[in-house]
């Protein structure tokens, strides 16, 4: 069996605060995400899910506390601990084609044999036949596929998905769920924020509820897991 292109990586958030002016978006968040875990973050709008994921992506610097990545990276695996991030926005250029977008980011990330990698990913996300179309001509679902391909370019060991099903039709959600299942089964550590129960949330191995910037519930077990996602009292 071919070994995965990355080693499993875990994350440790220690006493994280994030302040935006007068607003405290995160308050003393401490969490350890084990390598290979698929953690689902639930919570109302403004509860701090996106901020936490952006801190994990190292796009936002915490006001207090620290984030560390743990695991056994092989030599030259700096890219592996650079998380793949899928956000609300697609993070790709509308004025470039799907292929140009992926090639641009592949070259920036120093992916070896970028053309071959892009070709494989376009095939994987089902966009081979639209590779030369400008992204601005794509539907929301197709843009999301490009966004996911971009996040996977450097074969990250950690995948961060911020409400990845936003704007997807039922077929798109099914495709996304299958993709996430593959990522999870390949040993990637996944952190995703979701609203409510869905076929995507059922892939989670751990559910964490945030409220007003704090972790208020955290479980790996059935009934409580469901209640966290549905906002019901556990």
């Amino acid at each position: 069996m071919t070994p995965p292109a990355f080693s499993s990586v875990g994350l440790r958030f220690e006493n994280i605060d994030k302040r935006y002016g007068g607003l405290l978006a995160l308050r003393g968040v401490s969490l350890t995400i084990a390598p290979g875990e698929c953690a689902v973050f639930a919570g109302r709008n403004g509860s701090g899910k996106t901020t936490l994921l952006r801190i994990a992506a190292r796009l936002v610097r915490p006001s207090r506390g620290s984030l560390t990545f743990s695991g056994n990276q092989r030599d030259g695996e700096e890219n592996a601990i650079r998380p793949g991030f899928v956000a609300h926005a697609t993070m790709v250029y509308d004025e470039l084609t799907a292929e140009e977008n992926l090639l641009l980011f592949a070259r920036l990330e120093a992916v070896s044999q970028p053309k071959r990698r892009v070709e494989a990913l376009l095939k994987e996300v089902g966009l081979s036949d639209r590779r030369s179309s400008l992204v601005r001509t794509f539907s929301r679902g197709m843009r999301q596929r490009v966004a996911i391909a971009r996040a996977l370019l450097h074969e990250p060991a950690v995948l961060l998905l911020d409400e990845p099903a936003t704007g997807l039709d039922p077929q798109g959600v099914t495709w996304l769920a299958e993709s996430i299942r593959r990522f999870r089964d390949s040993g990637r550590t996944i952190l995703m924020s979701l609203h409510g129960e869905s076929e995507i949330s059922s892939l989670g191995t751990r559910a964490i509820r945030l409220d007003a910037g704090s972790v208020v519930a955290d479980t790996r077990t059935g009934a409580t897991f469901r209640s966290i996602l549905t906002f019901a009292d556990a």
């Binding site: 952006r54 992506a57 190292r58 796009l59 936002v60 610097r61 650079r82 998380p83 991030f85 956000a87 609300h88 926005a89 697609t90 993070m91 790709v92 250029y93 509308d94 004025e95 470039l96 140009e100 641009l104 980011f105 070259r107 920036l108 990330e109 120093a110 971009r150």
Partner: protein, 224 residues
């Protein structure tokens, strides 16, 4: 991946997207064209008059046009949050600035060189004999405008009154460039053209100082 290879990849993207849409170049060229043509009707210049006021007019048009060009520089990256994607992908965030300021310098320089023959014709100013010196001044001034303007564009893109903020910050900061470029150009348009080295030196120092500041502090401008 090195800073320069990241920069080259990003510069390729900037050029490709602009030459595909031609949004910035078209707006800038049309703006400068209007200024040049309108003023040529107003003043009906003789050769001596042109030598006196044409350099100032030329650089004022370039400066205002550059604020049009620099405004969308980082705003474009906010539309789909592509700035975050770039920050996640590059090894050194300075590459993002370097590519953008290189692209802006190329676009400005291209605009200036395209409009120079028209300017020379309408204002009766001989430019051929001093063309190489003019290209040097255009390059140094365009680089200075781009370095400072790109940094300010990154700041203003995150502000609430972004459309107003960039010109408000940029125009006072770039006044020294305007003065130095006008002085050097005036000397080159003289009946007996000469090179004002002090002005050229000032432009070069301005470029180096602002480029160094951007290299040192640019990363903080991109933070959320």
């Amino acid at each position: 991946m090195s800073l320069f290879s990241n920069t080259a990849v990003l510069l390729g993207k900037e050029l490709r997207t602009e030459f595909r849409s031609r949004e910035l170049l078209t707006a800038t060229i049309i703006f400068i064209l209007i200024v040049i043509v309108l003023f040529s009707f107003t003043f009906d210049p003789t050769s001596d008059e042109s030598r006196r006021f044409a350099p100032g007019l030329l650089w004022l048009a370039f400066l205002f046009a550059s604020s049009l060009m620099l405004q969308p520089c980082f705003l474009r990256e906010q539309h789909n949050d592509t700035l975050s994607a770039l920050r996640l992908s590059v090894s050194d965030p300075f590459a993002i600035f370097l590519a953008k300021l290189a692209a802006n310098t190329i676009f400005l320089l291209l605009t200036e060189l395209l409009l120079l023959p028209l300017f020379a014709m309408m204002y009766n100013v001989p430019v051929l004999s001093v063309l190489h010196w003019l290209v040097l001044v255009f390059f140094l001034a365009s680089l200075g405008i781009s370095v400072a303007g790109t940094a300010l564009s990154a700041i203003s893109a995150q502000a609430r009154m972004r459309e107003l903020l960039l010109p408000l910050l940029m125009l006072p900061l770039l006044t020294p460039i305007l003065v130095a470029s006008t002085e050097v150009t005036k000397a080159l348009f003289d009946r007996a053209p000469y090179v004002k080295w002090k002005g050229i030196g000032f432009l070069a120092v301005f470029d180096v100082v602002f480029l160094t500041a951007l290299w040192l502090f640019g990363e903080y401008l991109l933070e959320e």
